[in-house]
């Protein structure tokens, strides 16, 4: 049992927490600006695919990371176009983008590599957790994002866009633009989280985000839209994921099919027990 605990609390947890945490930080920024961010799943998935494709093509993992970030920002731009410019429902846009990402990454796999499930191997960061710039990005972002939300003009404006867009209009700032800038930064972080998914295992496989975007959003809500707490909650999810893997390897007492859903059960339990005690941004979802 003690070796299970030791393995669970190893540095590898950090590696598993990074996609969740970056998605949650990005989600917190986007949601605080008033845009419902169900498209996190799409940002992770497109980010993971683009990172693997770029790293494979250039041979440079760092270029892959940048590609993942760009992909996340692109999804965020489409999201803003649909829900802010065209006035579509935020939740439906998010689900549509997630469906699009699921089919789209498969389509691109087929188009580029003539194969529907896996990308060719891409150079990544493997098991060397602290050598990965994405891990450091996540650590730095967990500290910087909460501060930037409070201390910078960008943060002030995005929070105003999420709470009182009319007040922002009154001082001559466009809430739509403030939201776009927030969503782009949020998309960049989530895209980097996607890059971690594929670069950590040296390649992309279809549907590799596996609902992490939704879990990350649940953690944002649970944390009352506070980014640092959301990131911390994501470490908890990663611990649960790690625990389920370790138990699958070491014990047959609980069937593997059921262990694998531990993070989902935990998230659901937390939503049932915790509820949302803090109110969401007041203008969340407005168009």
């Amino acid at each position: 049992m003690s070796e299970v605990i030791a393995a669970v609390f190893s540095l590898q947890v950090l590696r598993m927490a990074v996609p969740y945490a970056l998605a949650a930080l990005g989600g917190a920024i986007t949601e605080r600006s008033g845009v419902i961010d169900l498209a996190l799943e799409a940002k992770l998935l497109f980010g993971a695919f683009t990172a693997a494709a770029v790293a494979h093509a250039t041979g440079s993992p760092l270029a892959g990371v940048l590609g993942g970030i760009a992909a996340g920002m692109l999804v965020a731009a489409v999201q803003c176009l649909a829900s802010l410019r065209l006035g579509a429902d935020h939740v439906i846009v998010g689900v549509a983008l997630n469906l699009l990402a699921l089919g789209g990454t498969r389509f691109l796999l087929q188009l580029f590599y003539g194969e529907g499930a896996n990308s060719p191997p891409a150079p990544g960061y493997g098991d060397a957790v602290l050598a990965s710039p994405i891990v450091w990005l996540a650590i730095v972002a967990s500290i910087v994002v909460p501060i930037a939300l409070v201390k910078t003009k960008w943060g002030l404006r995005l929070r105003a866009a999420g709470d009182r867009p009319d007040a922002l209009v009154a001082v001559g700032v466009s809430p739509v633009r403030a939201r776009l800038y927030a969503a782009l930064v949020g998309g960049a972080l989530a895209g980097a989280g996607g890059a971690q998914l594929s670069l950590a295992v040296g390649g992309f496989s279809a549907d590799m985000s596996g609902g992490r975007g939704y879990i990350a959003l649940a953690m944002v809500i649970l944390a009352g839209w506070r980014p640092a707490w959301a990131a911390l909650a994501c470490v908890g999810v990663a611990l649960a994921e790690r625990l389920s893997i370790e138990l699958q390897l070491r014990t047959a007492a609980v069937p593997a099919e059921l262990l694998h859903i531990l993070p989902y059960v935990l998230t659901l339990a937390v939503l049932v027990v915790g509820g949302a005690r803090r109110p969401p941004p007041r203008a969340l979802g407005s168009r």
């Binding site: 579509a88 429902d89 846009v93 983008l97 939704y214 059960v265 949302a276």
Partner: protein
């Protein structure tokens, strides 16, 4: 009742038409990217699916499952709830339906066996739906998040039950259901379309009536339009939300009949997978009207079966991707039509915005 086109109805038709045209345009661009002339692909899709009775039957088979899941999503959307849990509700229905079908004595007559299996499917789906609805109504947990979690949990539970108890000799298929529980195939050259299609048509008619001509329909749509206003006129909003989600879950669960009772006659791993998610597209494209959902299900069934029929021309992933495009296009087309009005109609999908703001 259906043919009388009101101003609002016309706006809905416009929005659906714009969404379809936009999706066709985007799909055509993607075909050009792959290097195939779009006209050839669209024509081949239409020609190959409609000229051959077998393929046409397959289209109707897909459309049956899609229509039931679409009705599920549409009903919830009418009440301001987004049921992306149809996938899990369907899986729960498939499992329950097959369990009931195999547990019955071998000589059970069909007038007992079929209703029992349908009841089991509806109950299982309904319970999953009710859980989502109750969490939303009483705990404020967003239904989209809880639905996704439950989808994963139900899929894993079904796989575990299958592996541990049902699957026979290294396969991923359980025992056959009793003969009496089987629904007859419809005469389409041996394709999978079956009696569930008739049930789906009946449910389209029933929901159309409930939605437009009963107090119940008025009540759930009032909750969807504006929960605060509904509360102020004495509607128990949390209870309506829970009941509507339970009913939506039951509808998605009933789609199991199409796969288990009508076609495969057993529990299989992954049976009906993806139908619940595609039901979202059907509900949105049908603008939440039951008849519209039925037509949208037919179109999407055509796209889905047609995508396979033209797999020699374009990769089938392209048509998968188009399903997301359809949802995005229809979500944007509603508000666009509303902003360019002849009579400023309101958009039932867009009305969720009021609820989202309140949430």
């Amino acid at each position: 009742m259906i043919l009388r086109v009101t101003e609002q109805g016309r706006a809905q038709l416009q929005a659906a038409a714009i969404a379809i045209l936009a999706s066709i345009a985007i799909g055509s661009v993607m075909m050009l990217v792959v290097g195939v002339p779009p006209g050839t692909v669209w024509w081949a899709m239409l020609e190959r699916t409609t000229s051959d009775p077998y393929t046409l039957g397959q289209v109707l088979y897909k459309a049956t499952g899609l229509a039931l899941c679409g009705l599920s999503v549409g009903l919830a959307l009418d009440a301001g709830l987004f049921n992306i849990g149809a996938e899990g509700q369907l899986t729960a229905g498939v499992l329950a339906c097959a369990l009931m079908g195999t547990a019955l004595p071998g000589d059970t007559p069909s007038f007992i066996a079929v209703p029992l299996c349908l009841f089991a499917a509806a109950l299982a789906g309904g319970l999953v739906g009710a859980a989502i609805g109750a969490l939303r109504a009483y705990r404020g947990a967003h239904e989209v998040i809880t639905s996704i979690m439950l989808n994963a949990i139900v899929a894993a539970l079904a796989l575990w039950v299958g592996n541990a108890f049902l699957f026979q000799g290294g396969t991923t298929r359980g025992a056959d259901i009793v003969k009496g529980a089987e629904l007859p195939h419809l005469p389409f050259a041996g394709s999978a379309v079956n009696g569930t299609l008739i049930m789906a048509l009946g449910l389209v008619a029933l929901l159309t009536w409930l939605r437009s001509s009963t107090t119940w329909g008025q009540m759930w749509r009032a909750v969807g339009r504006d929960p605060d206003a509904a509360r102020s006129v004495g509607i128990a909003v949390p209870r309506v939300q829970t009941i509507v989600m339970a009913a939506a879950g039951a509808l998605a669960g009933l789609a199991a009949a199409n796969f288990v009772l009508g076609h495969k006659h057993a529990f299989e791993e992954g049976l009906g997978r993806g139908t619940g998610f595609l039901g979202i597209s059907a509900a949105l494209l049908g603008r939440t009207h039951p008849v519209g959902i039925g037509i949208a299900a037919l179109l999407l069934g055509l796209l889905s079966a047609g995508g396979l029929a033209v797999a020699d021309l374009v990769p089938k992933e392209l048509t998968e991707m188009l399903q997301g495009v359809v949802v995005l296009a229809v979500a944007a087309a509603g508000p666009w039509v509303a902003r360019h009005p002849r009579a400023a109609p309101k958009d039932p999908v867009g009305q969720r915005a009021g609820k989202a703001r309140a949430a």
